[in-house]
């Protein structure tokens, strides 16, 4: 900072090379605005719809008569609609938002022809809408995670292909000489998703493989849609927003490399652990379980990398909404993955498979990790797209606490409940623990249902809490979209003012 040119830069910040970069970023952000806003609004719509489906399904678990005479809302349909609305509606739209915005920024590439991308986004959402409608009218396929009826899936695939190609083009023609770790993950996910989706569609629906191979393909897909699609996007966001908000580099490039490649190598094998104990050759299950054990490597390595970056800056969690969501998600990524590795073990799966334990794990991964990271990303991205501040810190606070506490309660309750359920179903000699007469062993199935009731009611309550959080989020987003842009210098919307205001530190 001692040379002559830098002296003039320090006198007039607008002429500094940093300012040139900022101007470029501003231009890039602006080029992504229309499609990014579209993906955000669709994602927001789908998460509200998906949560309502989830609540209906959850109530039916303990109050079977609830909406019992509505054919469209029977459990089998509404639960499936929930799954597909949050996966293909919320999570994928949020992913597209993050992919486009991050890819444009990190590649230093303007988004060309945003209207074409918008069209692809519209097609994707039309596809999801037709799919959900089909599921509700009873056209769902019987393949879990691929329930969207075959008349809607080609639309999804074509729409995806267009979006994927767009992001790859941005990467290819970007000006950035360096490929940042977030880009590795995004780029990989962009190729992994069409691979798993097309193979799974073909081998389970269009030209079904016979016998257990079909089940293997099904769970290979269902596990990889989390591991090779949502997880990379989630991790890309953590890798970007953590150092971005803190203003310091990611701890170690070497750990990033190890984490990325070990995830790429091992994740794709792990899906078979969903079939432990099933009619699948034992060695295939063993390979899946071994891969699940190996998944500890990327998880721990990535966890260390994030933690070492975060160390010394935990204070920032007190004021930055983005950071709070991102860190909550990153911590839960480590937790859920470590638990997942243990869940794959035969001894553990024996108890927890086909119980609520699995549901807890799914929500832990997709909600407490992925969704929370996406919320954090949106809190950072939206002000840059709209050049406005978030209208209400209180609503952000409500959003964070309701979703964080809600998801943790849900995960905890179902994890414990699932264990209890599994033990009762497996072990015939537990009647005494329920206060039943000796001699009523094995525990009658209806008793297991009765025991589960309290866990299921708690799950519904936690779901209501999460829904409240989503409403707060939705109100904040809509308010922000509608409010006029301030002409003055504005301050960021934080939970509280940091010791040194973020504005001052540029």
């Amino acid at each position: 900072m001692a040379s002559g040119t830098n002296l003039s830069e320090s006198l007039n910040p607008a002429t500094s090379s940093e300012a040139v970069k900022r101007a470029e970023l501003s231009e890039i952000d602006a080029s992504t605005k229309i499609p990014a806003l579209f993906f955000l609004c669709s994602a927001l719509g789908w998460i509200l719809i998906g949560t309502i489906f989830a609540l209906i399904a959850s109530f039916k678990m303990h109050t079977p008569g609830f909406l019992g005479d509505a054919e469209w809302l029977t459990f089998g349909r509404v639960r499936t609609a929930h799954l597909n609305a949050v996966i293909y509606g919320w999570a994928s739209n949020a992913s597209f938002l993050v992919i486009i915005w991050l890819m444009a920024r990190l590649s230093r590439s303007l988004l060309r022809h945003p209207i074409l991308l918008l069209t692809a986004g519209v097609f994707w959402n039309v596809g999801v809408t037709i799919g959900i409608y089909g599921i509700l009218t009873g056209d769902s396929t019987s393949i879990e995670w691929l329930e969207i009826p075959p008349y809607a899936t080609p639309l999804l695939f074509v729409a995806y292909a267009l979006m994927g190609v767009w992001a790859v083009i941005m990467f290819r023609f970007g000006k950035s000489p360096h490929i940042y770790v977030s880009q590795w993950y995004i780029l990989a996910a962009l190729f992994w998703f069409p691979w798993i989706y097309s193979v799974a569609q073909i081998m389970t629906i269009w030209a079904p493989a016979r016998g257990t191979v079909q089940a293997l393909v099904n769970w290979w897909f269902a596990h990889n849609v989390l591991g090779l699609w949502f997880t990379p996007i989630g991790l890309a966001s953590v890798y970007y927003f953590l150092p971005k908000v803190l203003g310091k580099p990611i701890h170690s490039y070497y750990l990033s490399v190890l984490g990325f490649w070990s995830l790429a190598i091992f994740y794709n094998w792990a899906g078979v652990h969903h079939l432990v104990g099933g009619p699948v050759p034992a060695w295939v299950q063993t390979a899946g379980i071994a891969a699940s054990i190996m998944m500890l490597i990327p998880v721990v390595v990535t966890g260390i990398n994030h933690h070492m970056t975060m160390i010394g800056s935990f204070n920032a969690l007190r004021y930055s909404p983005t950071l709070r969501f991102i860190v909550f998600g990153a911590v839960n990524y480590t937790l859920v993955s470590v638990i997942g590795s243990f869940m794959s073990l035969r001894g553990w799966a024996e108890i927890t498979h086909f119980t609520q334990h699995t549901i807890a794990h799914a929500h832990h991964g997709l909600y407490a990790f992925f969704t929370m990271v996406m919320f954090g990303a949106i809190y950072y991205i939206l002000p840059r797209l709209l050049l406005k501040e978030w209208p209400s810190a209180a609503l952000i606070s409500v959003h964070f606490w309701a979703t964080a506490v809600g998801s943790l309660i849900m995960v905890l309750v179902l994890t414990v409940g699932g264990f209890h359920q599994g033990l009762l179903l497996n072990t015939p000699k537990l009647a005494n623990t329920l206060g039943l007469q000796p001699g009523t062993d094995p525990v009658p199935f209806l008793e297991v249902v009765r025991v589960m009731n309290k866990y299921l009611v708690s799950r519904s309550l936690s779901g209501i809490l999460i829904f409240v959080g989503h409403l707060a989020f939705a109100v904040n987003v809509v308010w922000m979209l509608l409010k006029p842009r301030s002409a003055e210098v504005t301050a960021p919307t934080l939970f509280r003012n940091p010791p040194e205001m973020e504005v001052v530190t540029r």
Binding site: S26, G247, S252, A282, W283, I297, V503, R506
Partner: protein, 220 residues
């Protein structure tokens, strides 16, 4: 020489407009954000090396212990092909027990007691056909029998279906079990019949119309 205009190619002068206060205000959100993230190059902690090695070791042990011989037909991870080979003994079949199960089919006519139905279905108990020549009784089973036949002094005129080629298609083993059973049950004293003998006759006769009693009587 012309002195170069200092403003020429000086991009900073063009950017001076960007210092306009109103533009700065609008871009305040962008201006205040931290620089784009980059990686640090801290070396990997030694702990990671040990951890990765340990996990690879555990994963390898797990595969070796639960590989079940990489056998596509082994569904139990405790299956060990080397043990399976030493433990396996030739499967012993009790022809009487197997025959008793198969007799369900015969009992429809000959009755579970083997007594038949007087005037309609001939008895098997003490029957000279059952206890007599192997060659005859195997032929009856394989190809069937129709027309009048004299059993224990009574004449029956009915049709017995073929259980061999062209009929029920039973294997040599099944036919040998059922015959051994009826030849030794209810106080019958016929010798057991081997699958090899059935195969020999099946080969000699092949598929044909049901036998008549006289034709069989011509055979030893």
């Amino acid at each position: 020489m012309k002195t170069p205009d200092p403003r020429e190619h000086n991009t900073r002068i063009e950017q001076a407009g960007a210092s306009d206060e109103s533009i700065q205000d609008v871009h305040a959100i962008l201006a205040r954000e931290k620089p784009e993230p980059h990686e640090g190059y801290s070396p990997m902690p030694l702990f990671v090396l040990g951890f990765v090695s340990a996990i690879i070791f555990i994963g390898a042990i797990y595969i070796v212990r639960h590989r079940a011989g990489f056998d596509p037909l082994a569904y139990d991870e405790r299956y060990d092909p080397s043990m399976a080979a030493t433990n396996a003994a030739p499967v012993k079949v009790d022809p009487i027990a197997e025959g008793k199960k198969l007799f369900m089919t015969c009992a429809a006519c000959h009755q579970p007691t083997g007594q038949g139905v007087p005037g309609v279905f001939p008895p098997l108990v003490k029957s000279e056909w059952v206890n007599g020549s192997e060659d005859r009784v195997i032929r009856i089973l394989l190809n069937g029998l129709s027309g009048p036949v004299k059993v224990e002094g009574n004449t029956y005129n009915n049709a017995m279906p073929a259980f061999g080629p062209g009929g029920y298609g039973w294997s040599d083993e099944k036919i040998s079990y059922i015959l051994t059973y009826v030849r030794q049950e209810w106080g019958n004293t016929g010798a057991p019949i081997t699958p090899e003998k059935v195969a020999e006759i099946r080969k000699a006769v092949g598929q044909r119309k049901p036998w008549a009693a006289e034709e069989l009587e011509a055979i030893k």
